[in-house]
């Protein structure tokens, strides 16, 4: 009887405590139900929204924005194969079918931009509902809006039409949206960047490395320039200039950060932040940009590391003869941007290769650099200003800004007078001033020069492979320079998951 009683009691206990017994929440991670409650939560969420920028700058943006232009090429290594994703971009032979591609850089760039967008959407959907310090909230919200505008601006320029997500996705049904028109995406970018420009702090008051009001305004001006809204651009750029937050570094080479110093300097409007060291925030794009095979000793002359190791496989972003010859005689930027190395183990007769010097800063450990990636420098504000003024039929005013940039480069004032001449002068200036800063492809697209420039360039590559770092006997693939579309095809892996493309 007693036993039966015990059993009954046990059953009763089991029943009554069932529901709380069955609630087991994770102990070592936060869940979204308890997050986004405090200022600190939002500050952390904003930080996380910056994180994908490192991956974008280190691994993908240069493939899509620079290698995919006449500024750089790859140095073919016939002993090594698995490089079709980068080669296809450099060769304008990205496999495309029905507006879709399997190229992994295209896919990853797309996904990383949306990662920024999703993280900023989480913040923007909830931040107004939580009560905390208004100044801090404005700064956090401004950063989120800037980053969302930044990501969409990349997407719209790469792809033209993309889905426009502005609220957090909470279940499977909401995950895919139809492609929005280019116009509506630009409208949103303008809205976000405008608001960010008014919410954010100026550079002198903001924590170095974060988005500033100047960065938001420069971004917005860039948008207006792409849209050929010259006077809107001019107004904004004038504000940036008049803020006196920025100056050109006297020496062009010093405009770029070192591995652990000279970051976010007076010329820097916005740069993507890396940190040297083992804690996981370092970059290694410098190594991607080195020609190969390179012995450890040769690597050491460039990197100065304590553990140099040889480099095999294939080097990318090798300056083309075209960019090398684009510098005017006496341009100090040439030696600051491009250097040469002799590869003793190269299979080529000519073992001398150029490489990008502006990022080749000494550091401690192989493959671990803290050099930042420049997104906007003050010289671009000046050249944007020149371009906006010129297109607004004020070539004389434009020359003032153009010449500031030329003067720092050790060049005489421009001789251009007419609007078309001034336009070409600015284009030439932009090419060398921002060489290897992922501006070339976007500039060719927005100025409508892709077909002319790349077709001619392609003929030079195919006609003279030796000049483009091929070993004797090797040639570009037969389909090189056949894909001259001004937008990238959308990623196939995403296409497989959405009903809309």
């Amino acid at each position: 009887m007693k036993k039966r009683l015990i059993v009954i009691v046990l059953i009763a206990v089991a029943l009554s405590s069932c529901n709380s017994f069955l609630d087991v929440v994770p102990e070592t991670s936060l869940s979204s139900a308890t997050f986004f409650k405090t200022e600190s939560d939002f500050a952390q969420a904003v930080n996380a929204a910056y994180a994908p920028l490192r991956n974008i700058a280190n691994d993908h943006a240069w493939c899509l924005g620079e290698l995919h232009s006449d500024n750089t090429y790859y140095a073919r290594n016939v002993l090594f194969g698995a490089v079709d994703n980068t080669e296809n971009l450099a060769d304008f032979a990205v496999p495309t079918a029905n507006g879709i591609t399997t190229n992994s850089h295209v896919r990853d760039q797309y996904r990383l931009d949306y990662l920024i967008i999703a993280r900023t959407n989480q913040i923007l959907a909830l931040i107004d509902g939580v009560d905390f310090d208004a100044d801090s909230k404005a700064n956090l919200k401004g950063q989120a809006l800037f980053l969302r505008a930044y990501a969409y601006f990349e997407l719209v320029r790469y792809f033209g039409k993309v889905p426009l997500h502005l609220t957090p996705v909470t279940d499977r049904q909401e995950a895919a949206l139809p492609l929005s028109s280019t116009d509506s995406i630009y409208d949103q970018i303008i809205k976000d960047a405008t608001e960010a420009g008014s919410l954010l702090l100026p550079k002198s008051k903001q924590e170095p490395g974060r988005a500033t009001s100047g960065a938001a305004k420069t971004l917005l001006a860039n948008v207006y320039i792409v849209l050929k809204k010259w006077t809107d651009a001019e107004t904004l750029l004038q504000q940036v200039v008049d803020s006196h937050e920025y100056e050109l570094m006297p020496n062009y080479a010093d405009a770029f950060s070192n591995s652990a110093s000279n970051k976010n300097n007076i010329e820097s409007v916005f740069e993507i932040q890396f940190k040297e060291g083992s804690d996981g925030y370092s970059g290694n794009f410098l190594y991607d940009f080195l020609p190969r095979p390179m012995t450890a000793a040769e690597v050491e002359t460039i990197t100065g590391t304590s553990n140099p190791q040889s480099l095999s496989e294939e080097g990318n972003n090798i300056p083309t003869p075209d960019i090398i010859s684009a510098y005017e005689p006496g341009d100090k930027r040439k030696d600051a941007s491009i250097a040469y190395i002799t590869l003793s183990t190269s299979l080529r007769a000519n073992k001398v290769f150029p490489y990008i010097k502006k990022y080749a800063k000494k550091h401690a450990q192989q493959g671990n650099t803290g050099t930042d990636w420049p997104v906007y420098r003050y010289s671009e504000v000046l050249l944007f200003m020149a371009e906006a003024l010129n297109e607004d039929n004020k070539p004389g005013d434009a020359a003032v800004y153009l010449n500031k940039v030329r003067q720092r480069a050790g060049l005489p004032p421009t001789t251009a007078v007419s609007v078309p001449d001034m336009r070409n002068a600015i284009y030439r200036e932009r090419r060398v001033e921002f060489a290897f800063e992922n501006k070339r492809w976007f500039d060719l697209v927005r100025t409508g020069r892709v077909k002319d420039v790349i077709t001619a360039y392609g003929k030079r590559v195919v006609g003279n492979p030796l000049n483009y770092y091929y070993p004797a006997g090797a040639v570009p693939p037969s389909n090189a320079f056949t894909q001259l579309e001004t937008v990238y095809p959308l990623p196939a892996d995403e296409s497989a998951l959405t009903p809309y493309f």
Partner: protein, 1029 residues
């Protein structure tokens, strides 16, 4: 009250007597008093022939002996004694001695189903009354098989159960799949229940010698009492208990040697062949040949077999002492075991120390208590042998250039090898032998399993049982990579020394309260079971990773210059489960059988809107042979048909999959300062639930010739729905996946098994054979998703799950005309390069995307699996041979992406010698030209295609054992047997990708059947002894 005390005291006395007698047995020979000499003979009840090697013992004593070749025995006994006569395959018989001095004992074959008791979920049933699909195994018959885990011993024995040894790592790598069950991400391993306790952790931690019997529950009617954990089938393990009226002490031990046979290893180029290839490569490419390859014959006699250098002959040994006793009140068993298997790969060790104590004690006729305690400790050190290039030692060894020296001219192991980049050597190859020998990669595993129960029978027929079960597991992992070695490719030596320590504690408790009421009236027999159970599991882990050591001899945490933040963390996990269960069993006259069962499970794993799942089942049976009309079929001694239907679940959906989680290590950096970042990394799903399987089963059991031949057939049909799947979502959402219950898979199959006593008497020959046909088909996936990709597999609606997917190899472009007239890959196809099939007919060969030319190119699933065991005994000799096979399954030889990489950056399979070199020298048509670099050869390497599919049908002679009963004129030793055994004797197969056609690198069902050169399964030769005292 007094009565209980007395009983108690009597029990204590018995316990003392038992322990004392055990010591007596171990330390002294027993002296006998007041006894007389008895002789006798044992014969077969049916044939009258003499039975040899029958154990004849005296009840309650350790005395005994075995019969000679004429069935005779003699021993000393008192008139009050009873003889216990037992023999494998016969019913044990107890015979009072009385005044007789010459006794004839007729033993009846035990294949009379009537009295065979089968362990089923939450109870036992007469075999005759079982209405589900249950197969039982007497583990005693498997004791000679020299392996570490029980699941290895079951290979080839079970119908409908596919057991593969995917890697030869000692103590690891067994894949058990019952009735083809699988799921996308919720696993396919069955639920292991040890003495009623669903355990967590590794089944390999249980000493197989502790196990008495195993029941495999296959259909939903048998498993539905395990509710949301039953869908992959249930394996009920019953540990040893004493046999009625016997006390027994036995020692089972074997020692042996393992080695990897040369035959079956993947054939690689030797140094001369490799240098010749490289020479030809440069010649064909029109490039100057590097000095290293200009004269391939210089490497004659200087081959470096890196793979072979990692292997060795290794010893294996096992010792088990078992003591059992069963008297009126006390039933006890103690099993102490030591197992030590050194692996055939250098520096591999697996040691298991185990102890089990099982006690059941009847306090009174109505009250019984029981207590089991089973601690075990496992130490293993296993180098990281299995893995992809740069992560798995064996694969790395295979692809290392055979011209690279393992040892330098002074005989020392080289540090690493790297030739000039001009030779196409793109990686620094560390010395893998050093890596195996010098890196510590050890696990220490403590597992304590306990059960305790009290059982009370207040009225006749009603049994109340309450139990508490506990399991505690501690796993300590220690890894130290000294500066002198590395598993990673392209890391020069010295490297940065790294240590990792993981410490994990797991604990689970289960309380079960069951009531069973059994009642018979007239010809109606009922049993009703009802119960409530509660289980909780908690786990916590701490991980520390440190690097940059100044001294390799002191791999302490404090000895490191840097603590790696990314690898230093702690975690915790928990789940809870509360259940109600009930079963009704009814039969009329023992020939019309009915069972219905139901379980309701509430689990913390299920979403808040979907907390409880209900799992019902019902089954029917009809013993035809008990009907009058059946008497005309004289040769058919038994016939039963049965059918069942039930609903079961799979709750292996992860502990917190329903929640949206925030990861707070998504950090940013600003001006060289790290700023903590937090991001939502998953979406929540409050509707998330278990996977549901609805299963129908129909079977027939037949016995012929007085059950000398027994036959069982089962057909099953299952539909699994609500599969847990992390559905890929467009990443425009900021997420890659959403955890949801989706889709439907249909499974069906046929299972046949037969047991035949071919001869009886002096030569006794028994054959057990089984064959199973398992099929599956994906009926639906998620809305809008009709396919899910694995590594080289696709799971697509309308096709079997996880089949191989890629392009179809159609040979090579033989000449310019062939190239011109065939579909090509623009910019990549050349004469002599691989010709792939243009599946969609658009004239262009495309990998992936909208114009994809990929198709299903193979299957990891066998058309059928089979096993056959023959057991013979003749006089004092016994012999058994176990075979296990699989037909129609294929493997994706993933390692060929390096081992047949035509760029020549790695060593290659020998067959690459016969590649296409020119129109005049087109080779065997399998591998293509090396000219054109990665742009050309990359297609063959990087685009998965049917070239890489290997036929992995096999038949393996798993074990051959020859035993001999030694006749000892000893009073202490009842019986002694010596045997020799060979495990993994020979594999009949056409598979050429490696030595193990059972392999599968990934345990992920979506990516089955990849061969990445896993740890080879050794051949093992052992000598063993079984002694009964």
């Amino acid at each position: 009250m007094t009565k209980i005390k007395i009983l108690h005291r009597r029990g204590l006395l018995q316990l003392i007597r038992f322990v004392t007698s055990v010591f007596c047995l171990l330390l002294f020979s027993l002296l006998c008093y007041g006894q007389k000499r008895i002789t006798g003979r044992v014969t077969d009840f049916d044939t009258g022939g003499p039975l040899t090697s029958v154990t004849v013992g005296i009840k309650g004593s350790s005395q005994g002996m075995v019969t000679d070749k004429n069935g005779h025995f003699s021993l000393n006994a008192r008139p009050s004694d009873s003889l216990v006569v037992s023999f494998i395959g016969y019913q044990t018989k107890t015979v009072p001695v009385g005044n007789r001095t010459d006794i004839l004992i007729k033993l009846q074959s035990s294949n009379q189903r009537l009295d065979q008791l089968v362990v089923v979920g939450y109870g036992t049933q007469m075999k005759k009354d079982v209405t589900g699909a249950v197969q039982t195994i007497d583990v005693g018959k498997l004791r000679d098989i020299p392996v570490s885990q029980i699941t290895q011993k079951l290979q080839g024995k079970l119908a409908g159960v596919q057991i593969n040894e995917t890697t030869g790592k000692p103590g690891e790598g067994m894949s058990v799949r019952i009735r083809g069950q699988l799921s996308v991400s919720a696993g396919s391993e069955p639920l292991y229940v040890v003495d009623g306790f669903p355990i967590v952790g590794n089944i390999g931690s249980i000493n197989p010698d502790e196990i008495q019997s195993i029941s495999i529950l296959k259909d939903a009617a048998s498993t539905s009492l395990y509710g949301s954990r039953a869908a992959n089938g249930v394996v009920l393990i019953t540990t040893k208990h004493g046999k009625a009226g016997q006390t027994n002490v036995s020692l089972n031990t074997y020692v042996g040697m393992q080695q990897v046979p040369q035959r079956g290893r993947i054939k690689m180029m030797n140094a001369v062949e490799f240098a010749q290839f490289k020479k030809e490569y440069y010649e064909d490419e029109g490039q100057p040949v590097p000095i290293e390859f200009q004269n391939p014959s210089q490497y004659q006699g200087k081959n470096n077999d890196w793979y072979g250098a990692l292997l060795r002959k290794a010893p294996i040994q096992s010792y088990n002492l078992t003591i059992t006793t069963n008297t009126d009140k006390l039933n006890a068993a103690i099993v102490a075991g030591y197992f030590n298997q050194e692996g055939v790969v250098l520096n591999t060790t697996y040691k298991r120390y185990s102890l089990r104590m099982n006690m059941d004690y009847s306090i009174s006729d109505k009250v019984k208590i029981g207590f089991n305690l089973a601690p075990s400790y496992i130490y293993d050190n296993t180098p990281q042998t299995d893995g992809d290039r740069g992560t798995g030692l064996l694969f790395d060894a295979l692809h290392t250039w055979p011209i690279m020296p393992i040892r330098d001219s002074t005989g020392q192991l080289t540090k690493y090898n790297q030739l000039p980049a001009s030779t196409g050597n793109i990686y620094a190859y560390p010395n893998w032998v050093r890596a195996a020998a010098e890196i510590t990669d050890e696990n220490k595993y403590v597992n304590i399993l306990t059960n305790g129960y009290i059982q009370y029978e207040p009225i006749k027929g009603l049994v109340l049982k309450s139990s508490i079960n506990l399991q505690y597991i501690n796993t300590k992992y220690f890894f130290f990579n000294p500066s002198t070695a590395t598993y990673a490719i392209n890391v020069p030596i010295p490297t940065t020394a790294v240590s990792r320590r993981n410490n994990m504690d797991e604990a689970t408790w289960l309380n079960e309260n069951l009531a069973t009421y059994t009642k018979s009236f007239n010809d109606h027999h009922f049993q009703l079971l009802a119960g409530v159970t509660t289980q909780k599991y908690t786990e916590s882990n701490t991980n520390v990773q440190a690097d940059t050591y100044t001294d390799d001899r002191l791999p302490t945490i404090q000895g490191a210059l840097n603590i790696n933040r990314g690898g230093t963390n702690n975690g915790a996990n928990a789940w809870t489960l509360t259940s109600f269960l009930s079963r009704l069993t009814y039969n009329y006259k023992g020939k019309y059988l009915f069972t219905a069962a139901i379980r309701a499970d509430g689990s913390s794993r299920f979403g808040s809107k979907n907390r409880w799942g209900t799992f019902p089942s019902a089954s029917l049976g009809w013993v035809l042979s008990d009907e009058d009309f059946f008497k005309q079929f004289r040769n058919i001694s038994f016939a039963k048909i049965r059918t069942s239907y039930g609903v079961i679940g799979n709750n292996n959906i992860g502990n917190y999959t329903q929640y949206a989680l925030v990861n707070n290590t998504v950090n940013a950096v600003f001006n060289d300062n790290v700023a903590t970042g937090a991001a939502v990394t998953s979406m929540s799903n409050t509707d998330l639930g278990w996977e549901t399987t609805k299963e129908y089963d129909a079977g027939i059991d037949l016995g012929f010739f007085n059950d000398r031949i027994q036959f069982t057939y089962d057909y099953y049909l299952k539909h699994t729905t609500n599969l847990l799947y992390s559905v890929q979502v467009p990443q425009e959402s900021g997420f890659s996946n959403f955890n949801d219950n989706i889709g439907e898979i249909k499974f069906w199959g046929h299972e046949f098994s037969v047991t035949s006593i071919n001869t009886t008497g002096r030569l006794r020959w028994t054959t057990n054979a089984n064959i199973s046909f398992n099929r599956n088909k994906v009926m639906a996936l998620a809305n809008g998703i009709d396919r899910v990709y694995g590594s080289f597999n696709i799971t697509e609606v309308g096709h079997p799950f996880g089949v191989f997917y890629g392009l179809i190899d159609e040979g090579l472009y033989q000449n310019a005309a062939d190239l011109k007239n065939s579909p090509v890959i623009p910019g990549r196809s050349t004469v002599g390069s691989i010709k792939l099939k243009d599946v969609n007919g658009d004239g262009v060969i495309t990998y992936g995307g909208d114009q994809d030319d990929r198709a299903i190119i193979g299957t990891p699933f066998p058309k059928f699996t089979y096993g056959i065991t023959n057991t013979l005994s003749y006089g004092d000799f016994d012999f058994s041979i176990v075979g296990s096979g699989s037909y129609g399954n294929e493997l994706y030889m993933r390692h060929l992406y390096s081992l047949a990489n035509l760029d020549g950056v790695f060593n290659m399979v020998e067959r690459v010698k016969d590649r296409w070199r020119s129109e005049q020298n087109p080779g065997d048509g399998f591998f293509g030209t090396t000219v054109g670099g990665g742009n050309v050869t990359g297609v063959e390497r990087d685009w998965p295609n049917s070239q890489y599919i290997g036929n992995a049908s096999f038949f393996t002679i798993k074990n051959i054992t020859l035993g001999y009963n030694v006749r000892l004129k000893s009073k202490t030793i009842k019986s002694a047997r010596i045997y020799a055994s060979c495990q993994q004797v020979y594999i009949f197969t056409k598979y050429w990708g490696g030595s193990n056609p059972e392999t599968s690198f990934s345990t992920d069902n979506l990516s089955q059947g990849l061969d990445l050169s896993n740890y080879p399964v050794p051949r093992t030769y052992t000598l063993g002894v079984n002694i009964n005292f």
